[in-house]
Symmetry: C2
Subunit: 204 residues, 2 copies
């Protein structure tokens, strides 16, 4: 039978879709049941996948969650590389700040937060999360420097950018329980001005 | 028998100590087992308290966790009121920024983080956490304004302070998985300078 005459998706595609459902269920499960309650069986049930199929993809809980952590990291990197703020001068700084802060208030950062909190008490998860988080931190920093046109050779510029990204993470946290967008917009507007001055004054 | 001749602590004190052990165990349990796994029985076992005694203090899981959330909030308020930065001018700003950021990297903020993440998917916990978190947010803001001698009547000053406190929360998050103190010290030093200028320029 040629692929054209199939009525169900090819086996490989179905396998990929199953894997994907398991990874998404793993992150959601961790949030609700914590590490102790997030076994491969529980995740499989949530994903609507048989236990056998789940164990075929991920023999152990560590395999499953390592893959989930890696996928969230991968998606966050892709999100970061897709940034394309427009404008020049102060308007551009405002666009860059808005887009970077948006990364911290989206669903992927929320998923990452769940993983961090679980990783903070679960060493098996912690090692992988720490390595990947540090990689994403460096990528985000590099991207911020590039988009803001900042010169890191100038003393203090590195810390200005770092503090700003810490602020973004804090804004993401503030958005966890309530919709914080109105307040956030005002903070972003004011801090874009401060960043513009701080980089301008230090950098030129 | 007069209190002076007792060999064991008075009943009321023992009861208070039991309650305290249960509240501490509740926060730790939530981190490890998530909301679903944090029943009164599990918390009682962790605290080394009989199930009956635990249920005497907290008949339901909601009672137990509401009390835990309130206690963490109470302790964070007390920590805040105890701040006493010294110095004048730029040195004072640096001291204020350091002390406020320290609040976000201590064990109480870590406990609060666990509660937030659980509250983000557990509505019964969420309502109480949101109310208390918003109260602490206002208290912290008021204290920051007072300690920095900032004038909120000046446009932008409110958002400068808010963004700085968001940065503090982000620094707390960054400290969750690794000891981030060396980097944090440099960020704090740089942003204390920027805050000093932003408040000085806007405020006077």
């Amino acid at each position: 039978m040629s692929p054209g005459t199939r009525t169900s998706p090819p086996k490989q595609d179905r396998s990929r879709a199953t894997r994907q459902r398991l990874l998404e269920a793993a992150v959601a499960c961790l949030a609700e049941h914590g590490w102790a309650g997030s076994t491969v069986s529980v995740v499989a049930e949530r994903a609507g996948v048989s236990r056998g199929a789940a164990q075929h993809h991920f023999p152990t809980r560590e395999d499953l969650f390592t893959a989930a952590v890696e996928q969230v990291a991968e998606q966050r990197s892709a999100e970061l590389r897709a940034l394309a703020p427009a404008g020049e001068g102060t308007a551009r700084t405002h666009a860059v700040v808005t887009e970077l802060v948006d990364l911290y208030t989206g669903p992927l950062f929320r998923a990452a937060l769940q993983l961090w909190v679980a990783a903070s008490y679960e060493p098996q998860l912690g090692a992988r999360v720490t390595v990947l988080e540090s990689r994403i931190g460096r990528e985000t920093h590099r991207m911020a420097v590039e988009l803001l046109g900042a010169d890191e050779a100038v003393p203090g510029v590195r810390e200005v950018i770092q503090g700003f990204l810490d602020m973004g993470r804090g804004l993401g946290l503030a958005n966890l329980l309530t919709d914080d967008s109105a307040r956030r917009e005002r903070v972003v507007a004011q801090w874009a001005r401060i960043l513009d001055e701080a980089l301008g004054a230090d950098g030129g």
